[in-house]
């Protein structure tokens, strides 16, 4: 006979939670994917600069699908002077940092509300015998899943979108928005995946840790 513990699958439980709250899940994924796309962009520019200063036309291991080769398209022969590139990059990093902060705020906020809404549910789980760690695992899986999903959306939709948007702006007569061809090497992709998962998981952990560790009695009380 299967005990509750044996049939309890934290992954499916977490997924069903996400499915049941489409609005919240979607906004979280959107915010995160925009953030990640932006970070990917900045990262790729950084790599482009430090590895091949001035912009090389070699194709690399990964070109985000749908993106275009800036230099070919617009015949940009020379990039910007070095100091300018450095400074721009500086600003971009700063911007990315801020945007990352915003994303963390939102994930934290959203997960904290979700947790509070489910206080009764968590209380029941705890009362039935699940340890706080097991309950936490459910939430962490939720967070990780959001992180992975956002990364996928960012990589396949976000970055090309931004690059093409930039191309559109360039056509308006401005000179190179991108002083190097943005590329996303595999290393960057992997790093961003891990980063995304880490970001979400940590935010979720912080949001949940208070409630999940409370005793079942406290959680089930009707105020």
């Amino acid at each position: 006979m299967k005990t509750a513990r044996e049939t309890f699958n934290p992954a499916s439980y977490a997924l069903s939670h996400l499915k049941n709250n489409p609005f919240r899940s979607v906004t979280m994924v959107l915010i995160l994917s925009v953030t990640i796309a932006f970070l990917l962009l900045v990262g790729s520019i950084y790599i482009g600069i430090t590895m091949e200063v001035g912009g090389s036309k070699e194709s690399n291991l990964w070109n985000a699908p749908g993106s275009i080769d800036m230099f070919e398209e617009f015949q940009i022969d020379e990039g910007l002077p070095e100091e300018v590139q450095n400074t721009m990059l500086n600003w971009l990093f700063f911007t990315s940092f801020l945007i990352m902060m915003v994303a963390i705020f939102i994930i934290y906020n959203t997960m904290a509300i979700a947790v509070e809404e489910r206080k009764k549910e968590i209380g029941i789980l705890r009362a039935v015998g699940f340890s706080s760690r097991e309950v936490m695992r459910v939430f962490l899986i939720e967070g990780a899943f959001i992180g992975i999903l956002s990364w996928i959306v960012a990589l396949f939709f976000g970055t090309p979108l931004i690059v093409n948007l930039a191309a559109y702006l360039i056509k308006e007569g401005q000179k190179g928005l991108f002083f190097v061809q943005p590329r996303i090497p595999v290393e960057l992709a992997i790093v961003s995946l891990l980063g995304s998962i880490a970001l979400c998981t940590v935010s979720t952990y912080l949001a949940c840790t208070g409630t999940v560790n409370k005793a079942a009695v406290d959680l089930l009380r009707v105020e």
């Binding site: 979280m28 990059l89 500086n90 801020l98 902060m101 930039a166 190179g176």
Partner: protein, 227 residues
């Protein structure tokens, strides 16, 4: 009924406690509610403030470049290295500005939608009670809208002020983490502030649509049944 009132002063408005002088307006409700949920409100506010800060900084960079070259319009002669460097950046800067602005707007909409949805969901029973007590859907919606706009405008005010404060500090400051860099000229223009407000308002309007639909939708009776 006049006389000494020595009620325990737990409320913030001790001063308002006069005989029959008290009333509760929608603004009072909004503020009290925001205060109670202050950690959440602060997070959302911080998110919006960061975005408007970003917007101000980048706009000022753009503006600064424009002014820099305006000043030098009449100059004839060999452009300095600095000038050359900045010139190359001009077109780029404009485009970046558009991009950042779009980004800020988009993210702000998402932040607003997120926070508003959270507010409405959390307070489902409370809002249904208000309807039961005779407040119309429109009045209840205005309460939700009001509390959101307090956060939005508060965030924008904070971010904008902070940004404006930083601009003179960062003006022409050279800094990079690696190698050499150049300092950007940065300047402030009134249009930036107005733009920030406009973005916030727009974000508020767009972001509030789904939650407002949620508020006016269900019957208060149905909601309370599920308690």
């Amino acid at each position: 009924m006049r006389g000494d009132r020595r009620a325990p002063g737990l409320g913030k408005d001790r001063m308002a406690k006069r005989m029959g002088g008290r009333s509760l307006g929608p603004l009072g409700y909004i503020i009290k509610d925001a205060w109670r949920k202050r950690s959440r409100s602060v997070l959302s506010l911080a998110g919006i403030a960061s975005l408007s800060f970003l917007f101000i900084i980048f706009s000022s960079m753009d503006e600064g470049l424009d002014r820099y070259f305006e000043e030098r319009e009449d100059d004839v002669g060999i452009p300095s290295d600095e000038e050359k460097a900045l010139d190359s950046l001009r077109g780029t800067m404009n485009s970046w500005n558009y991009l950042i602005t779009g980004l800020c707007l988009g993210l702000m909409v998402l932040v607003v939608a997120n926070t508003a949805a959270i507010t409405v969901i959390e307070r489902r029973v409370e809002l249904a009670t208000l309807k039961a007590l005779g407040l119309t859907s429109r009045q209840v919606s205005s309460l939700v809208l009001g509390s959101m706009f307090v956060i939005i405008y508060g965030g924008i005010a904070a971010g904008t002020l902070l940004g404006l404060a930083f601009v003179p500090l960062l003006d022409r400051v050279e800094f990079t983490l690696w190698g050499e860099g150049i300092g950007f000229p940065m300047a402030i223009d009134l249009s930036m502030i107005l733009a920030a407000l406009a973005i916030g308002t727009l974000a508020g309007i767009i972001g509030m649509i789904p939650p407002l639909l949620m508020v006016s939708g269900p019957n208060p009776a149905e909601v309370m049944k599920n308690v």
